[in-house]
Amino acid sequence: MRTTDAPMTKVLPLLAALALTAAQYAIWRYAPVEATMGLVQKIFYYHLPMSWWAMVSFFIVFAASIAYLVKRDPRWDRLAGAAAEIGVLLATLALVTGSLWARPIWNTWWTWDPRLTTTLIMWFVYAAYLLLRSAEAGGARGPTVRAVLGVVAFLDVPLVFYSARMWRSVHPAVFGAKGGGLEPEMWTTVLVSVSAFGLLWLWMLLARVAQLSQAQRLDALMVWDEEDR
């Protein structure tokens, strides 16, 4: 795994910017206005990519945590940390946009839907994970402790989802009905938007990993410097 990949971190933001511009065009000009929901439905094109990439981020925390426990290479710990930060950011935005959409459409800010609950619980868990990172809990064992938490947190996800679904079994499959009613142009827009957010996500992840490894190097240099004196 390479943590600093200069050409990638230069080309990627350019690609991401172009793709996001195209996505804006697709969302506002290309995709038709939804018949019953009107303009509010456009939130969906932001909401869906953000929640998907948030979930991908959390999966990367899980995979990188396992890799750290096996290899004991601090680079995996940094990757997990960067992914957790971006995941929490995207999950926050997904929750906020979802809530804004739900208010006019479902007539409530919040409902006990399995996906909503799972996202919120993951948000709590990974926010706590970040708290653990910034508190540098565990001292020298910090990375190990975090990796264990990264694994445990992801194992919990299916249980959270199923238990939330059982809790309110009467809840209608709103999401299923909504996803099924998309026009072909809407599907295209969704795909464009998901890919554009994906490029942005990848760039942010790589840039953050590079930052974290530079911070690590600086710390190491400062220790050397102090020892020289």
């Binding site: 653990l132 064992r141 919990d156 079994s169």
Partner: protein, 224 residues
């Protein structure tokens, strides 16, 4: 593996019974929570069974955090963690021993919480077999994860508040099962999907017992 486990659990229980702060603190906090929540009950009305069940399990979850903080600080206070690690007991036995000790301490707290729920929240325990089963199954899930993450409190990082924030969201599936099943115990009617909720709690127990056996050796080490 069983002998060192039982030895460790017995040692911890003895130490906690003879003046360990964790147990008394956990019991007091839980009782206080139940009492304070009883203030939300309007005069002349009863707390709904599901609400009372939620309060009971919230008190238990807080109690569990304090119990494990106490259990792991036993070694920290005397600097005996290295001794424990050097002993021929496998590390898994340490997790299981602490979990076992925590299980009995949590049960001891709940012996106080249950009458408090009856008195302050006006509930009746109508279904004793389900009650016993629920407490045993859910408590094991609580201590399996608590014993794994309680070890985070070792060394300088000992912070109960941090542990609570991490532990509670993870416990959600278990707490939902516990609340549903206990609400059935208080109301006398088996909840809808009784087997499924019991299955959910058992799945939680199995998943995190398995995960803890794999992960505990990473968490509990000699480093500061």
């Amino acid at each position: 593996m069983l002998r060192p486990t039982l030895t460790l659990a017995r040692k911890d229980l003895k130490l906690m019974a003879s003046g360990g702060q964790g147990l008394i603190q956990a019991a007091l906090l839980g009782l206080l929570l139940i009492f304070v929540f009883s203030l939300s009950r309007p005069a002349g009305e009863v707390v709904p069974a599901q609400g009372a069940a939620a309060i009971f399990w919230l008190a238990s979850a807080f109690g569990q955090v304090l119990v494990f903080n106490g259990l792991y600080s036993l070694e920290e206070l005397t600097g005996a963690r290295l001794g424990l690690l050097l002993s021929p007991a496998p590390r898994h036995a340490l997790w299981l021993g602490k979990a076992l000790a925590g299980f009995f301490l949590l049960l001891a707290c709940q012996v106080l919480f249950a009458p408090a729920v009856v008195v302050f929240l006006g509930q009746d325990i109508l279904d004793w077999p389900t009650w016993g089963l629920t407490v045993l199954v859910v408590d094991w899930g609580l201590v399996a994860l608590g014993s794994l993450l309680g070890a985070l409190a070792q060394g300088q990082a000992a912070r109960e508040s941090l542990l609570t924030v991490i532990l509670f969201p993870l416990l959600l599936p278990l707490l939902l099962s516990a609340i549903k099943l206990t609400a059935g115990v208080f109301s006398g009617q088996a909840p809808e999907g009784y087997e499924q909720w019991l299955g959910m709690a058992l799945a939680f127990d199995a998943l995190f017992s398995g995960a803890a056996i794999f992960l505990f050796p990473f968490v509990y080490g000699g480093e500061e």
